[in-house]
């Protein structure tokens, strides 16, 4: 078993007929992910990806027909809030929303609604999840990681790949890698994933990758200090970012002086976390 998703996870892809949607769904299928259904209103009844995956007009019907328990959302930003709500109401237990650029007030409403529901949301604006050799749901390239005992949780996308790749170069594998996304209002947070890793018998060490903006890393540091027994190695991106400038996404706004890289590094170190200066140092720190 792994946290959040494993080889038995049955995935419906919302937006499977789009260019990126079909491309990544194919990579997922190739990796071994059970992509059991696609959803695209108006395309119900078609089969895609060489006729391997049936498309439905709604997530509800897809879930009923295929037993999908997880939805991956790869739709335009304007459709993402509706897609998340549709998945939540259709009864999947996990929603992974890759879409970037979702308006923050939409996400606040969606989050407030999801608080009613028994469903876990990862994202939006996230690279998804990888449990090596079992399942890959999202963008994380499958070939850059292998099974192992390191749990990885990250707010960043490609920076996560960098870390997985560095681990693999050093012969280290990963239990599950979760990209929680960089948006200011999102689903699952560092703390929830850290907790899962703490409870996961297959995870012995954890890598946490943060960046400037917000106070999620500081809160995670508190959690690590108080509750975690497993060693954690951290990395924070944005040490050279000029304050007050947007670095690509809303999560990277330095808010009112708080949330700087320096603050975060200090908070983590105080919690007993080893903090790397650059991503490729992480494997040796884990070996210590």
């Amino acid at each position: 078993m792994a946290i959040l998703a494993n080889k038995d996870t049955r995935v419906v892809v919302q937006g499977i007929t789009g260019r990126e949607g079909s491309f990544h769904s194919q990579l997922m299928l190739d990796y071994g992910t059970k992509v059991v259904a696609g959803m695209r209103p108006g395309k119900g009844g078609e089969w895609v990806l060489d006729g391997k995956v049936p498309v439905f007009d709604s997530v509800k019907v897809a879930v009923e027909a295929t037993g999908a328990d997880t939805s991956m959302i790869i739709v335009p930003a304007v459709a993402a809030p509706d897609s998340i709500l549709e998945a939540a109401d259709a009864g999947v237990r996990l929603i992974i929303c890759l879409t970037e650029g979702v308006p923050i007030q939409d996400m606040m409403r969606v989050r407030a609604y999801l608080d009613f529901k028994q469903v876990t949301l990862i994202g939006p604006n996230c690279p998804g999840l990888l449990t090596p050799s079992q399942t890959k749901i999202g963008f994380i390239p499958g070939n850059i990681s292998m099974p192992g005992n390191v749990g990885v949780v990250s707010r960043s996308g490609t920076l996560t790949y960098e870390v997985l790749n560095a681990l693999k170069q050093e012969g280290m594998g990963c239990s599950t890698c979760v990209g929680i996304g960089g948006d200011p209002v999102k689903g699952i947070s560092f703390i929830e994933v850290l907790q899962m890793f703490e409870d996961d018998p297959l995870t012995d060490q954890v890598v946490m990758i943060g960046e400037i903006g917000g106070t999620d890393e500081e809160k995670a540091a508190e959690y690590i200090n108080e509750k975690m027994t497993k060693p954690v190695v951290g990395f924070i991106a944005g040490k050279t970012a000029p304050p007050g400038k947007r670095m690509g996404h809303a999560g990277a706004i330095v808010e009112g002086g708080a949330g700087t890289a320096k603050d975060k590094v200090e908070a983590l170190k105080k919690a007993g976390v080893q903090v790397a200066d650059h991503p490729e140092q992480i494997p040796e720190m884990l070996k210590k």
């Binding site: 007030q105 407030a112 690279p127 390239p141 960043s156 490609t158 560095a166 960046e211 040490k239 670095m247």
Partner: protein, 379 residues
């Protein structure tokens, strides 16, 4: 996206918030005309999207139309923190009894909007927040329910507002909430909200930030974008759906993903270089975007080397390689280039670039070191 004071106040007024009956002018003559029509004392205020315009001399009191014209002339000739003043707002001067702070923003930790009020208005609210945080009253708003009347009353009680002003405060606060919500703002702020000597509440200054991700449903606001606040290269980047921020270093970076881009800048610095920019080509960038990105980087004459760090996920290595080749066809340059491609379709990308004259690297550390060396070598 930041909105100018006069646009923010127009939006507030549309939702029932009382604002001074002023107008905006682009020339001293217009300013004089507006002041004359308003009659009496006026305030002439620079419309620039940076703080501290008061200290910089961008706000002047004028007793009459003639003085207003002179003040406008002076202000319109100014640059404030590097930004030219293109417009001035001429508002009637008000006699202030009390100044209140009122603002709504997103509390990302709470995942809800938060409304803040303080009796200590009219000053730098961040200073109040830092030094006397107890003077700022906060209330979270459930995004599904919206701001409730009882919350407005609680704010009024907490900032010890005289009861005679409660109805007016209610109107202002609910108006500000509507403005915040319907405009997809990330900040809607009135500072100061003035109680005049006549007992009227008036939003004397206003500020709004709009969520860029939501601009697709606010074409009217997008039309007000002030590109003066952005460097020309940043404007060009935005039009190409790239995120570019110019910095002062000599190593240009093109990276996919904000986190990796920041980490790349950090590692350049770690190995003794200075990044010339932040540039995120985003997820799934195609050849055209990559070419545009390279053009933008090379427009910066400080750039002595370029580092491409592409870790393919949604972005494909072959597309990036095609973009680089495309750009190099158009741009003649001697700047050395270090390329690191990993992940989705990286091999195809490397194959495409094999014949171009580029320095390649396997690891991020290696790439950064080579870029620093190349920049030093090309000085």
């Amino acid at each position: 996206m930041k909105l100018h004071e006069y646009i923010s106040k127009d939006i507030f007024a549309a939702y029932g918030v009382p604002t001074p009956k002023g107008h905006v002018a682009a020339t001293p003559k217009e300013a004089g005309k507006i002041a004359k029509d308003l009659g009496g004392r006026v305030v002439v205020k620079a419309q620039v999207l940076v703080g501290g315009r008061g200290k910089a001399g961008g706000i002047k009191l004028a007793e009459n139309a003639k003085e207003a014209r002179t003040a406008a002339e002076e202000i319109l000739a100014m640059e404030i923190k590097g930004l030219p003043v293109r417009k001035v707002l001429i508002d009637p001067a008000v006699e202030i009894a009390t100044e209140i702070y009122l603002g709504i923003t997103n509390d990302r930790a709470a995942r809800q909007p938060v409304i803040m009020a303080s009796a200590a208005g009219g000053v730098d609210i961040e200073e109040v927040a830092a030094k006397t945080p107890e003077k700022i009253i906060r209330a979270h708003v459930n995004p599904l329910l919206g701001l409730q009347d009882y919350q407005v009353r609680d704010l009024a009680v907490s900032i010890e507002l005289e009861r005679e002003h409660w109805d007016a405060f209610h109107k202002v606060t609910q108006g500000l909430w509507q403005a915040y919500q319907r405009s997809d703002a990330t900040l809607a702020e009135i500072n100061p909200l003035v109680i005049t000597k006549d007992g009227e509440l008036l939003a004397v200054d206003g500020k709004m930030l709009i969520d860029d991700n939501a601009l697709y449903r606010h074409a009217d606001l997008e039309a007000h974008r002030d590109i003066d606040v952005e460097a020309p290269a940043e404007v060009e980047a935005r039009e190409n759906e790239l995120t570019y921020i110019k910095l002062d270093g000599e190593i240009g970076c093109m990276v996919n993903g904000a986190g990796l881009a920041m980490a790349t800048m950090d590692i350049i610095k770690l190995f003794g270089g200075e990044p010339a920019n932040f540039l995120d080509i985003g997820g799934g960038a195609n050849a055209e975007k990559v070419a545009a990105a390279l053009r933008i980087i090379l427009q910066d004459k400080n750039v002595k080397a370029v580092l491409f760090n592409i870790f393919g996920g949604i972005t494909r290595g072959d597309e990036v390689a095609k973009g680089i080749l495309e750009a190099l066809k158009q741009i003649k340059t001697d700047v050395p280039m270090v390329v690191r491609l990993v992940g989705t379709n990286a091999e195809e990308g490397r194959a495409l670039l094999a014949d171009a004259n580029m320095i390649t690297a396997e690891s991020l550390a290696e790439a950064a070191q080579k870029a620093v060396q190349a920049a030093q070598g090309s000085k």
